[in-house]
């Protein structure tokens, strides 16, 4: 059980999760497959020694985004009955072709000149230098402006989401009143 085996297992999990998520006709199944993908990716992050990122990945994606999407599905599709399962595709052929083309375009340079890193930084150094504390110090010192902007963005997103989701209802009410 070495790193490579773990990598292939996690890779298989995440690729399968992603494939099912985009191809499954049943939306709720799709969301759970997406969650499998997120968790698999978190495992990969853990394998690559980015422990905190793995935690955040689970916390934000599996915890928050997944639930948000589930809520959106529950609010938009009829939960029971056939509508929830009737998700048809469009232009599957051209989509697949374009994706394949993009894949090759990305892949060719990777295969042609694999960036051979002679001696990657040893594990111990990375574990020592990438503690949560170090990450926090970096966030507060050189990236403080980014953090502030991000906070602003998140607040704006919060307000925007609330207005977007509620504005419809307000106008609907007005229509009903007319």
């Amino acid at each position: 059980m070495n790193e490579v085996t773990a990598f292939w297992m996690l890779a298989a999990i995440s690729v399968l999760g992603a494939l099912i998520a985009v191809r499954k006709r049943n939306l709720v199944h799709g969301v759970f497959a997406l969650l499998v993908f997120f968790v698999g990716l978190a495992g990969l992050f853990l394998l690559l020694l980015a422990e905190f990122i793995a935690v955040v990945q689970i916390l934000v994606y599996a915890g928050a985004v997944g639930i948000l999407i589930l809520f959106a599905i529950m609010l938009t599709d009829r939960v029971t009955g056939r509508d929830a399962f009737r998700v048809t595709s469009r232009g599957s052929f051209w989509g697949a072709l374009i994706s394949l083309a993009v894949f090759l375009v990305i892949l060719l340079p990777t295969i042609q000149d694999i960036p051979t890193i002679e001696n990657p930084t040893p594990k111990e150094t990375i574990v020592e230098t990438s503690t949560v504390k170090q990450l926090g110090i970096h966030l507060i010192k050189p990236y403080i402006i980014t953090i502030e902007i991000l906070a602003l963005l998140l607040t704006a997103a919060l307000v925007g989401a609330v207005t977007a989701a509620q504005g419809g209802r307000a106008s609907e009410n007005e229509e009903n009143n007319k």
């Binding site: 939306l27 993908f37 990969l44 980015a50 955040v56 999407i69 959106a72 989509g95 609330v162 419809g168």
Partner: protein, 104 residues
Amino acid sequence: MTLALHHCLILAAVLFCIGLLGAFSRRNAIVVLFSVEIMLNAANLNFIAFWRYGTNPELLHGPLFTLFTIAVAAAEVAVGLALVIAVYRHFRSVDLESLDTLKE
């Protein structure tokens, strides 16, 4: 054989293209939204891989950038889903093909 950079890069490429396929070939707005999420996550994997195998890992560029991406993605999902709900309220559908009012 040890884990190397190109493993992660190829995996990220595969995941990115799966996301792309989903975004191109599905009609449900929510599915398109989470296809975009898959693409973003593939990019995150690249960030982390480059940080792990690149030079100067002590600067933590990879994890920091990934953190920012995750935060932005979370905001994007929130707003995106709010828009989907608003669109659903208006058109009674989340089918992207049927939202063609501007064509007429």
